[in-house]
């Protein structure tokens, strides 16, 4: 596994929750949105294990409905637990991201 995909693995759940918070999405749409956000090398299929895990944890719930034309779509909605988990995740992420960013930027320090 590349360094990048290892780093991503831990935060992908949070990214997916953040997208679903904005509006309910279905799998294909979700993978497109992740790629549009700049995570191009997340292979599209990766979203399904993540969606299953988030459902199992009760952070999202999916609703599969038949559509008159084309595919059935299973739309995912954020639950109250999911909102709490997302709040906590984004808080924790900031507490990590800010110091890590400044450490890894190197060089431009006054030392």
């Amino acid at each position: 596994m590349s360094v990048r995909s290892q780093l991503l693995k831990g935060v992908l759940d949070g990214c997916v929750l953040a997208i679903i918070e904005k509006e309910p999405v279905y799998g294909y749409e979700l993978s497109k949105k992740l790629q549009d956000a700049g995570l191009e090398d997340v292979s599209e299929g990766t979203v399904y294990p993540v969606l299953l895990r988030l459902q199992k944890n009760g952070y999202i719930h999916g609703d599969m409905r038949p559509s008159e034309s084309g595919p059935n779509r299973k739309y995912y909605f954020l639950t109250e637990d999911g909102r709490e988990a997302l709040n906590e995740l984004s808080l924790e992420w900031e507490r990590i991201a800010i110091p890590v960013t400044s450490l890894l930027r190197r060089g431009d320090k006054n030392d």
Binding site: Y28, G45, Y48, P49, L52, K74
Partner: protein
């Protein structure tokens, strides 16, 4: 909600839209995931349908299954299996009991017919030792479970490979079937009859068999077991 049955038949139709290469990739995923018997059927079929719809949309844009789900289908399938919720006890108990009672009714019918046919030619002893019968039945049930589990295991193992060793697998199945029959046919001769006994001729055997079968049939319809 769309029932798992509906999803399965829709899945069968939609798979025809896949290109040969994508179909091979998807079929292996599907079989591998479906052969995990302990998972929630509804959730399994829903995620399989999502993946299929995704693949069809991707295919229309010129993408392959390999590009969408990755180069390692087995690893991907294991990830899905690892995240799928287990089947609920509420679903497993009726299903297993249905199969068990159906098997009992079938055995009673076979027993009745066998005694009847045999009695045309010779005198048949229709004494039943309930404890012996119970042991034989439990062994039969367990060995059926093992046999199914073993065959599913071999199928799962043969997926995702370009060249699976068909001969080796066939030999393994052959040996397991021989073991299955020798165990179930040999056992009654090995355990001496013990405990209480009673007469159970072909008429009561067939009557109880038919009644039990009808109850099973009714329960299946009433509780939508299968």
């Amino acid at each position: 909600m769309i029932s798992s049955k509906q999803l399965i038949s829709e899945n069968n139709e939609k798979r025809k839209l896949l290109t040969k290469e994508n179909e091979k990739y998807y079929d292996d995923l599907l079989l591998y995931i479906r052969l995990q018997m302990k998972l929630s059927e509804q959730q399994t079929e829903e995620v399989l349908m999502e993946m299929l719809d995704h693949l069809i949309e991707g295919q229309n844009e010129g993408k392959t299954a390999r590009e969408i789900f990755g180069d390692d289908p087995k690893k991907y399938a294991d990830e899905i299996v690892g995240e799928l919720p287990p089947a609920k006890v509420k679903k497993i108990v009726p299903f297993v009991s249905y199969l068990t009672f159906n098997l009992i009714s079938l055995l009673l019918l076979i027993n009745g017919v066998t005694i009847f046919v045999a009695s045309l030619f010779k005198k048949v002893d229709s004494t039943v030792f309930p404890f012996n019968s119970l042991i034989q039945f439990l062994v039969l049930l367990t060995s059926i479970g093992f046999e199914i589990e073993f065959i599913f295991y071999l199928i799962r193992k043969s997926l995702f490979r370009k060249h699976s060793s068909k001969i080796k697998d066939s030999v393994a199945v052959g040996i397991s079937v021989v073991l299955f029959f020798s165990l179930n046919i040999g056992l009654p001769h090995l355990i001496p009859n013990f405990g209480p006994s009673f007469q159970f001729g072909w008429i009561p055997s067939i009557i109880t068999g038919v009644i039990l079968w009808l109850i099973c049939f009714w329960a299946k319809k009433r509780f939508k077991i299968i």
